[in-house]
Point group: C2
Chain length 388, copies 2
């Protein structure tokens, strides 16, 4: 990205690393950013490169709207062909609040949703804030650093490609999410959405800073390693270490997928599987849109909210839960969750128990350094999806 004072322009050369980094941070979900990248390429050619501003350069009184897509990523991708579709939700939100939006920000940096605000920025000239609300992808509305900081998601606005619009307000974010899920199905499975209206001050207090440049840097490290025929996994870990402060991450396991099953439940892509290490050890995993947990029998290797990223063992190309298949050779890396998700409020929102897993969170670092690895509780440890 080209620095412009405290701001940067996202040019055509940034798109490949940005979408690759975003796909890695998607931890199996968030949708494949490829089609989003193609749409963004067309928009940049038409309107010029969008402006990305740093979180600390944001005016305290700015009016900021997080935007992205809600619903099934697979359906969402097909609809992205119409770029102006992404602007419609911004315009409706402005009309609803009676106020012009000053900047947009991604809900999540993982997957296609990292690119939607950039698409909108091209057409509208609004800046995108270099930050997000997850530092990864999560399957639902409550799991944002905005919500953890006490920001209300309401009003929630979703619009489909036929301009069918649903606006929701509810006493709790969870009920808002339930009502929106129902409406999403009626509106065709995927919509552009806007929620968590914030002042600049609120965004600075709650957002995860530097997400877009982090994703682009991560992608750039992998692409450079590939070009140099170097080890892309070493490049990822080296990139994470060079951050300020350094981001903890490590290779968790290498192996071959030996089992995978998935189902659509309540609008979520839910499933589990296993992979065999070269030494024959079997590793199990489960997911709800994104990977939730990785374990060897009763020994926990990594668990949400920490990032569990399945990558192709040769190229480090990220593999989504939807495209994971028998026989794939993968390297799984773990990356520490963003700080807000390691607080008690963050873990209540996005920790293992929030997904119905029957045990508490242990950090990726603790799991690596403990002399005797923590054992999961006795009894049934099979994952039962929570009441969706």
């Amino acid at each position: 990205m080209l620095p412009v004072g405290k701001a940067m322009r996202v040019g055509l050369a940034d798109l490949a690393p940005l979408s690759l980094g975003a796909a890695i941070l998607g931890t199996g979900g968030g949708g494949d950013p490829t089609i989003g990248r193609l749409a963004l390429q067309r928009q940049i050619a038409r309107h010029g490169p969008p402006l990305v501003i740093s979180l600390d350069s944001l005016d305290d009184d700015a009016f900021v709207i997080p935007i992205g897509m809600s619903g099934s990523p697979a359906v969402a991708l097909e609809k992205l062909i119409s770029e102006s579709f992404a602007d419609s939700v911004l315009r409706r939100y402005e009309r609803l609040m009676g106020r012009a939006v000053d900047a947009v920000i991604p809900f999540e940096i993982g997957g296609v949703n990292s690119l939607i605000p950039l698409l909108t920025a091209c057409a509208t000239g609004l800046p995108v804030i270099d930050a997000d609300g997850m530092g990864r992808a999560f399957p639902s509305l409550e799991r944002t650093s905005f919500a953890i900081s006490g920001v209300s998601p309401f009003p929630l606005v979703i619009i489909n490609e036929r301009s069918e619009t649903v606006i929701v307000e509810a006493p709790t974010p969870l009920r808002g999410e339930q009502i929106i899920r129902t409406a999403l199905v009626e509106l065709g499975g995927a919509c552009v959405s806007a929620k968590y209206p914030m002042s600049g001050r609120q965004v600075k207090h709650s957002a995860i800073a530097g997400s877009l440049s982090h994703a682009a840097g991560l992608g750039r490290a992998v692409l450079a390693a590939r070009a140099d025929k170097a080890d892309p996994f070493a490049a990822i870990l080296s990139f994470l270490t060079r951050q300020s402060p350094p981001v903890y991450g490590r290779v968790l396991v290498e192996g071959k997928i030996t089992d995978i099953s998935r189902d659509m439940v309540g609008g979520y892509n839910i499933g589990a599987g296993s992979l065999d290490k070269d030494d024959g050890d079997r590793i199990d995993f489960s997911f709800q849109n994104e990977f939730l947990v990785l374990r060897r029998n009763r020994i926990l290797l990594a668990v949400v909210p920490d990032l569990i990223c399945f990558l192709d063992r040769e190229t480090a190309e990220p593999i989504t839960c939807e495209t994971l298949r028998y026989g794939q050779r993968v390297t799984v890396i773990g990356v520490r969750a963003a700080a807000p998700f390691r607080t008690s409020a963050g873990l209540a929102a996005a920790g293992p128990r929030s997904f119905g897993l029957p045990y508490d969170y242990v950090t990726l670092e603790a799991l690596a350094s403990l002399s005797s690895e923590p054992r999961l509780p006795a009894g049934d440890i099979a994952w039962t999806p929570p009441d969706l």
Copy 2:
């Protein structure tokens, strides 16, 4: 009702005739107004009688919102216990449109929805317009004189008793209705709703004038006949004849219910049945929330949008489609539909074919005066519910 200049106050003495008349005009649907009447009684005791103004006294530039309940009448009635619930939708609509509402109006005069605007008027001091959008009850959103005149129903706002709010906009009223139906289920089956925002000029152009006083007059005629031990059906027909212009109506049939079946389909109360006349002739009928058609074999006796009202044979107490049961002795009267529903636009919206009936509309008057009664087309005349 007590005249106040061009306006009237609805006092406690008006509630019994008004709710009786509204139940008759509900043509089997619209919900039993009894609980609404009790709620209104409490509100009048607390705030004094609400003001009802005539359609022609309305200011052209007034901002008018039709309000009522959407969803299952049975569920709606239980929720009416909290009167302030009805005001919430008005307040939300004002906030949404950035404009104070000057007057409210019922969507439909049939059933409980005739009383909701009066409830709101008590608490807010707003006047209610003596008019409505149906002159009866209909099962869905598109079937209003407002829509027939080209008024948009959007934005559609529904709110439940927990303040969960859904606002819908769509390219067509039909899609709006489909999206709202889905949301209604998620919101518990019944909500207060507001839609068709209008200027005073639009209301004057599109509403059916005098509906509230018409319902109250109809109810008063029945109550007076009962008190005088006179024939309540003669009183109804005499009342209709005395209107200016006279409203055509007649007794269609008397008999005993011999068959009734009903089912909930797509949120509608759908069913059919038959009754035996004293001479043994069998009469068939069908309904979708409200009665749709009455026929003797292939001979049509009455069909929507004309009103088909099932009344208790002794007391003329109206019987809803939900409470109709085997063995009930009924008198069925037909009343001509309000003028907007007899236009081609009105029949497209609310004629027999709009309900999936396989034949065209014939007026109640024509069915009475034709020397040889029109026969329905050969083939299957059983009613198949439309694609809901």
